[in-house]
Amino acid sequence: MTSLQTRQLGISIGNKKVCEDLSLNLQPGEVWGVLGRNGIGKTTLLHTLSGLRPADSGHVLLDQHDISELPRKQIAQKLGLLLQHSEDAFPTSVLESVVCGRHPHIAHWQWESKEDYQKATDALQQVQMSELSHRATNQLSGGERQRVAVATLLTQSPDIFLLDEPNSHLDLHYQISILQYLCDFARQQQRIILMSLHDINLAARFCDKLLFISGDGKTKAGDADKLLNTKDLSELFQHPISAVSDADRQVFTPA
């Protein structure tokens, strides 16, 4: 099974430190959440973990290999990234766009096979976009675009899912149903998810482990139920946060 680790990872944007000496060990079947304030470097961390950006110090290890030394195609077979923004210079159909997820698994000269299209169709069904599969991508709403991006990632079917704000643009129903599907899938199939989130309650609901990024290179990683307390959260967001108990779980609200 694929693993993702960091060794003494240091990342900075200009002279602002995102993390310092960060050593993480992401195990198959785990769902990780990354929490932190705006502009603290969550996206930069995700890009570094996927090898799109070099680390300033330390290493990111994909299956014990330094990710900076692996070819892009080999990385993409194991690790997928959901981007915060999607762009389409020249629109295509939704299905054509989703089947691009198969790219790392197909040889250069080959065309997508029937099975590849089947995988794309299945993924579109998972995000409830089947009816729009022939629509042009530039005619979609923000939420529909986000679901197409999730379907592309499912079609890529990596062992490690890095999700940059997976719930952005999604309505309440899809926030829950898509995250639920992804997290169940990861746990059953022994995949890894690491996602940046802004909603503490979604993090509480879906994540086993959390990583807090609090600025100046300070980070805190650990079990979700240990880190999710009003003191740590208020410190992280620099805003007073209180907890309301509801049946068997806590709901966090800003004061």
Partner: protein, 332 residues
Amino acid sequence: MLSLLRQPLPLISLLFLLSIFSFAFAISMGSINFSAQQIIHALSTNQSSITHTIIWELRAPRAYIAFVTGGLLSLAGVLMQVLLRNPLADPYILGVSGGASVAALMAMSAGLAGSWVSGSAFVGAFFSILLVFGLAHGQGSWNPTRLLLTGVVIAAGWGAVINFILSISPEKPLRGMLFWLMGDISNVSPSISSLLILFLGLIITFMLARQLNILSRGELQASSLGVSVKPLRMGLFLLASALTAFAVTQAGSVGFIGLIIPHMIRLISGSDHRLLIPASVLLGGSLLVISDTLARVIISPQQLPVGVITAFLGVPFFLFLLNRSMAATRHD
């Protein structure tokens, strides 16, 4: 009918037929019009009749040059648009033709002609490519915006030099210069090298087509799907520039083809580069052959620069397609 053309086979077959038609049109039209019979007779027999001479020494070579030029420009247009992820990009946007034009005009004002002019154009084009490449590469950051801005500014600089040369040049070479700038195939001798580079470009880009599809969705998305973006973009820049340099060297700056042909194919059959690339080459080649034929017959014996005709034909055709596709999306 048009929906059938979204399929690869019907579209490519139709464009092949169009290419053959364009050659037949080019061979039969001119100061003397030939019938199909005369042409077949002249092609099958090996005698040195006047028909044979006109077809083999004048019209066929010219049609060949027009086709290759149109193909080169269309392919370069597709590549520039995906490289810069900008629908307004054309082969000349990064200053390749500007560099070529300055060198060609300098050669003309020095009283040189023929292969001296095209040779200088080639040198000028490559000088400009290296200049843009070096400047855009500068600090190691190489993004489409920086490349685009560098190229556009260099092109503007060449434009100023062109105007300077035109304004100080004497009356006599001026007409030749203007024709060269507008794109002109009347005084070109055919060479095999541009056909070879067109073939080479077609094969390379066809192999890269799926990566191009993904690259047009952004650099981050492309790298996260396993495309090595940096070498791909560098290769695209050099290849598109080389294709443009060959086209400009043999025919001057024929406008419009490189910008519009890729969009026409996208409107007809979508943005998949595996279809877009060969279809654009065939359509661009055919359209330039037809335009060049019209350029020599419309007000004969006087000849028009072919760039004028391409725009006259292309603008209404393009607007028709654009309108049609917009109507189609409204009915969706």
